[in-house]
């Protein structure tokens, strides 16, 4: 154990000694590339060998160059037991003008010693190859144009030549001007750019009346020579095909984009040093030095004639497919039982408008049940899978399939045929007709084949059924129609009763007035009984109470406040019949007299009082109060 510890300690000491022995400190500066275009960034690495704790060197400020400190990176190497270490300070340098720049020399201090690195030379050429989309293709088109680009005079470009009209343009082209219906025509739109920065390039717009078009493919970039000049070219492609005969003008193609040009003034000259790396967006910094202008580029238009299919030798099964195709038919399985599915796989390959290829399919027969083919489309290949079900064992072959198309390269129709394919259909044993299905839960269910049933009408009925008068319908019956009014009538009656009851409950005056005659009738009857019995005192007592209560209810007065004056006051405004008022006064007076001197009142007076009271009540029930 002790020996092991001593060994490890010795090894560590050796490593430390080795490191210190490898301290051959020096400073180097190098550019990633010495030759670049305006606007292109390049890394400048300042490497200090022999230590890792060395501060970054100051970066001189150079006009036409913009620099940004990216950060330090440290490295340790062990080679044949020798250990070396270094620190690399990286800067990103972006030239905004062309020319040759001397960057440096660079100085750093380490342990009191100043180390230096020689300056580096950066050669910058005018123009930019950054976001430029290049396009190219040939064909005769009309003069291209650029819309919306600012005039050359307004641009003060030190490194970029002013726009002259041929630095960015659009060319649309097709390989042929005469095509057949459904024939694919590859359309190419090229964006040519020379010494100009473009960004936010849109996919081309393209009017295509009379044509059906596919999608734009991913644009590709290339360099092309056009009219003696080198251009960066962005190529857009899409297929189109005529859907109706005639001569059509398609295009012009249009592409929207933004042209990037350096700012004419206010270029930032201050050093990036001293600013926080986190608060500075490098790329936004780049674009702060540039201006962008939206432009709309347009190509010329193209005239194309769409020819009809020739009538001569047109196959009957021709469905409009155009191109050059091969067909292969495969049948699987070829040895089956009745009811088993057979798959007919038809593969059509070739070149041309695959959208116009339709499925050659096997037609249904008495012995063969067929389903619609399922199609799978791949590039230059269409696969149709059709399921056939033999219904009897008499099916011996799958009939031949043929597919006709028009070949525009030869101008002739072609028909490709494959088959017939022999198949063997065996009788299905009876036991196999029962299908056992096991569900996820493990439950078994048997499906028995549907029995073939004979068809005929069901036998006659044995009894005459429910007889009814001929042509008699409920809706024509007066009783039924009248009955429809009953619920409504009931509703109104019950509704009326309910409302009256509610009023009686909530309107005391109304309730008293309504109940007054009933109560009065009861009182009069009682008084009449007393009179018949010769009990005059009780008679007057009863008739007075009845009269008082009636008047109180009728005029909504409390019993105690019913006096002849109160009643006459209430009655006068609505009735001026003096004899009735007199009758009320008299009835009241007689009752009062009887109460205090009942011996003076005989039966005939009592009958007179009763008559007066009755008349007054009858009268008050008739008049509207």
């Amino acid at each position: 154990m002790m020996k092991k510890t001593i060994g490890i300690t010795a090894l560590l000491l050796f490593v430390l000694v080795s490191i210190s022995a490898a301290q051959a400190e020096r400073l180097e500066a190098a550019l990633e590339k010495n030759h670049i275009m305006v606007g292109n960034p390049v890394y400048l690495n300042v490497i200090f060998h022999g230590a890792q704790n060395v501060a970054r060197p100051d970066m001189p400020e150079i006009e036409g160059l913009r620099t940004k400190y990216v950060g330090p990176a440290t490295q340790v190497f062990v080679n044949n037991g020798r250990v070396s270490q270094s620190i690399t300070h990286s800067y990103l340098v972006i030239p905004s003008i062309d020319g040759e720049f001397k960057i440096g020399p660079f100085f750093v201090e380490y342990r009191g010693t100043t180390y230096s690195a020689a300056a580096v030379i950066l050669s910058v050429e005018g123009g930019s190859s950054g976001v430029i989309a290049g396009i190219g293709q040939s064909s005769g088109t009309s003069q291209p144009s650029v819309q919306g680009y600012p005039s050359a005079k307004s641009q003060n470009t030190e490194a970029i030549k002013p726009y002259t009209g041929d630095r960015v343009f659009l060319v649309a082209s097709v390989p042929r001007r005469e095509v057949y219906i459904n024939e694919i025509v590859p359309l190419t739109v090229k964006l040519y750019v020379n010494n100009l920065g473009l960004k936010e390039i849109e996919y081309p717009s393209f009017p295509f009346e009379g044509f059906s078009v596919g999608k734009w493919s991913e644009p590709d970039k290339r360099q092309e020579r056009y009219d003696g000049e080198d251009y960066n070219v962005l190529v857009f492609r899409r297929d189109l095909f005529g859907i109706k005969e005639g001569t059509y003008t398609i295009g012009p193609a249009g592409v929207g984009c933004k042209v990037v040009v350096p700012k004419t003034s206010g270029r930032r000259r201050s050093s990036m040093f001293g600013r926080s790396i986190f608060s500075d967006d490098f790329f936004s910094g780049i674009f702060e030095q540039y201006e962008t202008y939206p432009v709309k580029l347009e190509s010329g238009s193209i005239e194309i004639t769409v020819l009809p299919f020739p009538k001569k030798d047109k196959p009957e099964d021709f469905q409009g497919a155009v191109g050059d195709y091969n067909m292969e038919v495969a049948v699987e399985p070829r040895d089956v039982k009745v009811g088993d599915p057979i798959t007919v796989r038809t593969v059509i390959t070739g070149t041309g408008n695959m959208d116009t290829v339709t499925a050659p399919k096997v037609g249904a027969t008495d012995d063969l049940k067929t389903y619609e083919p399922q199609v799978t489309k791949k590039e230059n290949r269409k696969i149709y899978e059709q399921i056939l079900i033999p219904k009897t064992k008499d099916v011996k072959e799958i009939p031949a399939l043929s597919f006709s198309f028009f070949d525009p390269s030869t101008g002739k129709y072609k028909t490709v045929t494959d088959g017939p394919v022999d198949v063997k259909v065996n009788e299905r044993p009876e036991s196999e007709n029962i299908v056992k299905v096991v569900s996820m839960g493990g439950k078994e269910k048997m499906f028995y084949p549907r029995e073939k049933l004979g068809r005929d009408i069901i036998h006659i009925k044995e009894n005459v059924g429910s007889l009814r008068p001929l042509g008699r319908y409920l809706y024509r019956e007066p009783v039924f129609l009248a009955a429809q009014g009953v619920p409504l009538m009931l509703f109104f009656i019950l509704f009326g009763i309910h409302r009256r009851k509610e009023k009686m409950r909530t309107d005391k005056k109304y309730a008293r007035s309504l109940l007054a005659p009933g109560k009065a009738r009861g009182g009069i009857k009682k008084a009449r009984n007393y009179l018949a019995g010769g009990d005059i005192a009780r008679f007057y007592d009863s008739i007075f109470k009845t009269f008082q209560e009636y008047l109180g209810n009728k005029f909504n007065l409390s019993i105690g406040s019913v006096t002849v004056f109160a009643v006459l006051d209430k009655l006068r405004p609505v009735n001026r019949k003096e004899d009735m008022l007199k009758m009320i006064r008299e009835a009241f007076g007689e009752c009062e007299m009887a109460r205090y001197a009942s011996s003076r009142m005989g039966a005939s007076e009592a009958r007179g009082t009763l008559e007066k009271v009755r008349k007054v009540i009858d009268y008050l029930e008739k008049v509207k109060l």
Partner: protein, 261 residues
């Protein structure tokens, strides 16, 4: 009388009136039932002997006496079909269906007979050919449709009264009553449509029946109607009927070529 007892009385009165009206409409003469049964059985015997013409005569005697039943039309349809007259069989089955639309035997025979008549496929038009509406109104007899409307309407009135008398659930009862009334009147609309079809549906009896632009022989032929096809009679003009095909096309047809269902 308390509020609940008044409601009960109202329900009772409504029910009594409804039942009375149903009975009034549906009841057949009990006295004729026995005779009808005898004629019906006689017709059945002829049918089973294969004498379809005499079977039809017996069944027709009941109809001529002024009575009908779904079973009479059903058997009559069978007798026509067995005798080879599919178009008249269709007419009889349609009449049977009007009285008993839920009869499964009838549906099966109707389908079978229809399949034996070669009629062109016409795309039906109009809201009454919308599947749900068609299925609904063909599921019930005209009487049942009117009864349903009547019953639901009476129920709506009861709920309305309950809403009037109830102090707590007034709103709920009124909502139910309104919904019931909506249903009752929608159903009534359908019932009137079904009633309107009585006497206006017809079956073409002659093969290749010509339909003209006008009610006269010299008019231009618009289209031809296959035997057994159903049409709607829109108007009658002496010996001519203005008809509408299922697809909405209209024309004039000689009345003699049609049999009203």
């Amino acid at each position: 009388m308390s509020a609940p007892s008044k409601l009960k009385a109202a329900i009772f009165v409504v029910m009594v009136f409804t039942l009375m009206s149903v009975r009034q409409a549906c009841a057949a003469s009990g006295a004729y039932s026995e005779e009808a049964e005898t004629l019906f059985r006689a017709g059945n015997e002829y049918y089973e002997q294969g004498d379809y013409a005499r079977a039809r005569e017996e069944y027709r005697k009941i109809l001529e006496a002024g009575y009908e039943s779904a079973n009479i039309y059903y058997n009559l349809g069978n007798a026509y079909f067995k005798a080879g007259d599919a178009a008249r069989a269709v007419v009889s089955y349609e009449r049977s269906k009007r009285l008993n639309p839920g009869d499964a035997d009838l549906a099966s025979n109707y389908k079978f007979v229809r399949a034996n008549i070669e009629t062109p496929l016409l795309s039906p038009r109009g809201i009454w050919n919308w599947r749900i509406l068609k299925q609904y109104h063909e599921k019930f007899t005209v009487d049942v449709l009117f009864l349903m409307s009547s019953g639901v309407y009476a129920a709506a009135i009861v709920f309305l009264l309950a809403g009037v008398y109830s102090r707590r659930l007034t709103r709920r009862f009124v909502i139910i009553a309104v919904l019931l009334l909506v249903f009752a009147f929608s159903n009534l609309f359908i019932a009137f449509h079904a009633a309107g079809e009585i006497g206006t549906k017809a079956v073409v009896m002659m093969p290749e029946t010509e339909s003209y632009y006008g009610p006269f022989d010299s008019a231009t032929v618009f289209f031809k109607l296959a035997k057994g096809i159903e049409v709607t009679v829109l108007k009658r003009n002496d010996d001519w009927c203005k008809i509408r095909r299922a697809d909405g096309e209209r024309g004039w047809v000689k009345a003699a070529n049609l049999e009203i269902i």
